[in-house]
Assembly symmetry: C2
Homo-oligomer: 187 residues x 2
């Protein structure tokens, strides 16, 4: 039997789902990814939030989920393909003005970052702090954890090791420009 999917978008979803994370950066990245997709620049998607479904009913031929729970992610939020390369990253914004709290990244995700690098993928974090957006390479993130017992990464570290991501008219969070610079040595 072919499964049917409802067409109507329900208004309150995003607010509920992402309330704990902040939507500004996520929206900027989604817009950027859509632009990259439409212009055939890259193929990068946000992974669906993992959800454990417990109870399902049929309702007007649709499957309606009546009970489910969010699960902890073990990979990063976004992955995809750029210039033939595998790319994966996590995007987080913080309201903290002086540092980025490390609890934002799950321990499983830290292990995953190591593995992506080991297997030859491009792996990084996008961090929005003080209304600025930085790309911090997976290696610099891991190096920080190796050398610090702190529970947060200071803004100054992010600013010195990270790369400022620009907003332009077409792309709100043009992180691939930074990727070109640091991984493909383009200008």
């Amino acid at each position: 039997m072919a499964i049917r999917y409802p067409n109507k978008i329900t208004k309150s979803v995003q607010n509920i789902n992402y309330a704990h994370r902040g939507l500004l950066l996520e929206n900027m990245i989604n817009q950027s990814n859509n632009y990259y997709l439409e212009k055939d620049i890259a193929l990068i998607f946000k992974k669906p939030t993992p959800i454990r479904v417990v109870k399902v009913n049929f309702e007007n031929n649709y499957k309606k989920i009546n009970k489910a729970y969010f699960e902890a992610p073990s990979t990063l939020d976004y992955n995809g393909l750029y210039k033939g390369h595998y790319l994966e990253f996590e995007a987080k914004e913080t309201k903290n003005k002086t540092s980025f709290p490390l609890k934002n990244i799950h321990p499983h995700q830290k292990e995953h970052i190591k593995k992506v690098i080991l297997h030859g993928g491009i792996c990084f974090l996008i961090i929005m702090i003080k209304n600025e957006t930085y790309l911090l390479s997976g290696n610099d993130y891991l190096a920080f954890l190796e050398n610090n017992l702190s529970k947060s990464i200071k803004y100054d570290y992010i600013k010195s090791k990270g790369f400022l991501i620009e907003t332009n008219i077409k792309v709100q969070c043009d992180y691939l420009k930074v990727i070109d610079k640091i991984y493909f040595k383009e200008n």
Copy 2:
């Protein structure tokens, strides 16, 4: 606020969630991906099923979803990283003995396959038919669609164009062995 995730695995989930798709092939691939992951051979994950969350309540500090719907996927089920290469595929089993019904692949997914190939990724289908498992390259799948108006792919086409995937003691669906052969020209 840090979000908490329930630890208990609820027994009935998989049956509900995947009842319409058949679990045998999926379980074999999951076992294989776990093996590849543990042995640091590759980093390949099944994407979570996209779910649109409508209603959430707090219950014992957990977020409990009380209303949600499944959404149609626009990418393929599995993606990841192997030997520095981006890899993406869809896995389907059919009980049909003579052909693989094309309605198993959504129109959006067909477009997505073209894009993965365009951007230099490795893209394919894994099809289980008549208790055999084949890897059919994205290009051979697209070529079939170009040249046929049929609603299904005949078993003979899959057998002649596809590559038989073996089961061995360690890996139930050893598709990377086929990938080595056809993409990396290894034996």
